[in-house]
Subunit: 244 residues, 2 copies
DNA sequence: GTCTATAATTGGATAGAC
DNA sequence: GTCTATCCAATTATAGAC
């Protein structure tokens, strides 16, 4: 099982988006280097941020495949192309690293559901939601997998957020769905079960990607296959499979 | 890279499943206890088998929650109520234990799909399938979770079976679905995507059980909730959610 | 078959020089 | 901020008595 080695050799890059701007005036050590140009300081801060997110990205990739315990700090460091001790300078310990990875995840997970509102046409809103979720399954499969891993293990670290943020959000969106039903725009269906079904079907392509690949011969990366997935999931949910 | 070693060890020990009954005449130590009744011997064999399966059961419960690396042999032994070294007498090493747990799983996983045949009424066949899968999610959530864990990790140990058994089975059942469509009994839908959807929606209640519980307040154990789950999944898949 | 004791290894975390 | 060199705890696995 040459897993470990080949993995260590894998690529590093990951998207980094958040930029922080200047607080040069206040920071102590910065004064000493006041001669340095502002851009130089910013560049340094940027480098640090980049390193942080490189580590986070590498960690996501490995945690999402092998779990917290299946991944060693060494492997993360190697993949992020930093030394182990350097990694431990940025993140005090393994768990803190893991939690930070998870935190970033939750936002991504919650986001697409917010779009729902009662004014929209339900078929369009739900069809669009399916597509957006499948885009995430295609572009961020590791995020999806890690989320799934965490759920399977009982979400020890996400439980609070589940009970708070996600729950209230789902409650709100369930109201929207009920409104659609009351308006006769949607068949009577339990909102919770509908939401579960949507999540399940779309995440499946990421979480069970190996199986999908093994059985269909395709990945969501394959543009035509992706479109077929979107269409089929939409059709199943919206029209059902019994001929009309 | 310790993988090689443990793997080799596992490979050696691989197949030993068939039980040999009585060869008391020949075996040395047996002669001494020739006075023992046959039932006594059988009882002893039964006890051993029970112990094996107690260990396997405990292992499934723990592996399915914490993964291979998140579970220690100690924990499995404690849960199965045997000593650690006794466990290692039955299973040469951790990986062999894990593989044995997985092997038992696959049968359970493959089983329900076999029922499909072109003569059946599709709505009834698929509706029944949904119910059967949800029963499994309710009664064997740990099996479902472990399967999911294994998939997420790329199914290193199931890959071969995926490519062989499962693939051919799915191909055969896809033909059945296509036959239904050609006969006008089913709306045109890609068989693969339909199967994925069915798997995803039903497994979700086991794999994401914590989330389901957190958001709906219920478990499949709850009889009423179980029935609602069955009905809703069936309705979504069969009729869709757009009013007719 | 079952146990105790222990060897052997991994991997998380710290100390301290630079 | 980054490195090398350790320390130390946890776990897997083995040896050998009973």
């Amino acid at each position: 099982m040459p897993k470990t080695k080949s993995l260590a050799a894998a690529a590093v890059k990951q998207s980094k988006q958040q930029e922080h701007a200047e607080e040069k005036e206040t920071s102590g050590p910065a004064r000493k280097r006041a001669v340095r140009s502002a851009s130089s300081v910013n560049r340094r801060m940027r480098q640090i941020e980049d390193k942080r997110s490189a580590i986070l990205g590498a960690a996501l990739g490995l945690f999402s495949r092998f779990g917290l315990h299946g991944t060693s700090i060494d492997q993360v460091a190697a993949r992020a192309d930093v030394s182990k001790s350097n990694l431990l300078y940025y993140f005090a310990n393994k768990e803190e690293l893991y939690v930070n990875v998870l935190r970033d995840l939750l936002a991504l997970w919650l986001e697409p559901l917010r779009g729902f509102s009662a004014e929209q046409d339900p078929a369009e809103a739900i069809g669009g939601y399916i597509r957006r979720k499948l885009v995430i399954s295609r572009d961020r499969p590791d995020a999806s997998r890690l989320f799934c891993l965490e759920m399977i293990q009982g979400a020890p670290l996400l439980r609070d957020e589940l009970d708070r943020e996600l729950r209230t959000l789902v409650e709100k969106k369930s109201e929207v769905i009920r409104a659609w039903i009351d308006a006769g725009k949607l068949a009577p269906v339990d909102p919770h079960h509908l939401i579960f079904a949507l999540w399940a079907m779309t995440q499946h392509y990421a979480d069970f990607g190996v199986q999908v690949q093994a059985l269909s011969g395709h990945t969501l990366e394959d543009e035509a296959f992706f479109e077929r997935a979107v269409e089929n999931v939409q059709r199943i949910v919206l029209q059902g499979i019994v001929p009309r």
